[in-house]
Amino acid sequence: MLRYLRLLGTQLRLSLTLAAQYRTDFFLDGLMSWFWLGFNLVPLLAVFAHNERIAGWSFAEALIVMGFFAVLEGLLESAINPSLRSVVEQIRNGTLDFVLLRPADSQFLIATVRFDFWRMLEVPGGLLVIAYALHRLGHLPSIAQVLISLGLLLSAIVFLYSLWFMVVSAAFWVIRVDNLTSLFTSVFDAARWPVHIFRGAFRVLFTFVIPLGLMTTAPSEALLGRLAPSTVWISLGGSLLFALFSRLVWNRALAQYTSASS
């Protein structure tokens, strides 16, 4: 365990050095992380400019969902996406072999290979948004509500990581998968809205296929104290299942990987 923490530290230092190489990118990224937060608010403001409530959600309540979305997006863009993008490239170039040869868990090494530090700023930004929204509502959540909400957030992170690993596993078969990750990013975008806004096919998609509703709507409902207890168990169990399944897919993918170079 300690060894993995040390490994994590080394990987973090490495990607900081790498990122500082490209200075314009580095500073623009810093500015942008706050820009995206504001950017996320615009459609929300535009839609609620004309309505008190949409699909049973008031502006402040929807703002909480947005806050959770920002937290997850920050993690996604800072930790998950950069790593997985580099894996896809390594699969294509054949340099993944050097990673697989290392004496540590391949899934761990790959998930930590690159971090984008600035985008991490979105995480506290999202938490601030949630705090502001709760203040606006005049609602102080109980400790139990906060804990349940945090648990749901954690399982949302597990969901994200698992889904992403499955996408990357696809890279072993179809090679050009870099845009498959951006396809997923664009679908994930729907998570900024409370899932109740979506009807019909969208609702089914975001509830069962890609459980966006569990990722951002459920933790918000937990904070507001109107979450059905069964949802908690579905979310925790579902994320565990997803994690196991993604590990299985990853191992299966590795087993049939024959490298690109040889």
Binding site: D25, L28, M32, V42, P43, H50, I54, R176, L180, F202
Partner: protein, 268 residues
């Protein structure tokens, strides 16, 4: 052969090569086409918002027509040129382009234009779906406006191409142009009408947004197609759009010249 004939032959050859390239990576292409889910998500959101009645004169059908048209227009005009240019400049691959006796911009334009048949194919489903489902009532039936729509589409493509090629060229001056590109994507989504129709932008900001060039990249062609502009307005805006296009192309060429002077190749 006159030099012009030679150039035409070279350009046609480039188009053929790039078309083969585009069809070869058709799976990639499909994923890119599917990626623009944002309009559909925003459409779902506006539907939920219009349950109590239309907003600023726009009902569910109007929003559907707007976002489906936006989906189709983006298939034609959007491009991922910057990723390729950034990679080429950083990896030294751009040297190959510099050696050839045609301006690299022409090669990039051939790449984008050769994708047009596939792009049109991708633009068809949302349009057919819109016509079948909403009927033609939401779209203009004036043949002149339909013609102007096609011209405005070409103008939007040209503006977008010139801007993207400029951003890509900035990679010659700074280490990497991807961050700049992402800023551009964000601002574009907000101000071009991609995220929200420009009529939904607060009154106080609308004047400022109308002055900026973003509207001509997406919202303007849609407005023409939906018949929200009169013939005169459409023509006047078309003039502005093409003036912008010429200006952007001039800037692109100037940046390219400045960039080459500074460029030190990697990889050799």
């Amino acid at each position: 052969m006159t030099p012009w004939q030679e150039r035409r032959r070279a350009y046609l050859a480039m188009l053929r090569v790039e078309f083969a390239n585009a069809t070869h990576y058709r799976a990639t292409f499909l994923v890119f086409a599917l990626q623009s889910t944002m309009p559909l998500i925003m459409l779902a959101v506006w539907w939920a918002a219009t349950e109590d009645g239309p907003i600023r004169g726009m009902g569910p059908g109007d929003f559907a027509a707007y976002y489906l048209a936006s989906l189709a227009v983006r298939q034609i005009t959007a491009s991922w040129l910057v990723w390729g240019m950034n990679g080429e400049i950083r990896g030294g691959g751009v040297m190959m382009r510099l050696m050839r006796p045609v301006h690299p911009f022409l090669a990039y334009s051939a790449e984008s234009l050769a994708q047009m048949p596939l792009r049109l194919l991708a633009a068809l489903p949302p349009m057919i779906f819109a016509l079948l489902w909403l009927g033609s009532a939401h779209f203009t039936r004036d043949p002149l406006l339909l013609g102007l729509f096609l011209v405005s589409l070409a103008g939007a493509w040209l503006c977008e191409f010139a801007i993207l090629v400029t951003i890509g060229t900035l990679g010659l001056l700074v280490e990497s142009s991807i961050a700049i590109y992402q800023v551009w994507l964000g601002v574009h989504a907000l101000l071009s009408g991609y995220l929200i129709p420009l009529t939904m932008i607060p009154e106080e900001l609308r004047g400022a947004v109308a002055l900026l060039p973003f509207r001509y990249l997406l919202s303007f062609p849609i407005e023409v197609l939906l018949g929200s502009l009169s013939r005169g307005e459409a023509l006047r805006n078309l003039g502005v759009q093409w003036a912008y296009a010429a200006g952007f192309l001039g800037v692109a060429l100037a940046v390219w010249r400045a960039g080459l002077r500074r460029y030190q190749a990697y990889g050799g």
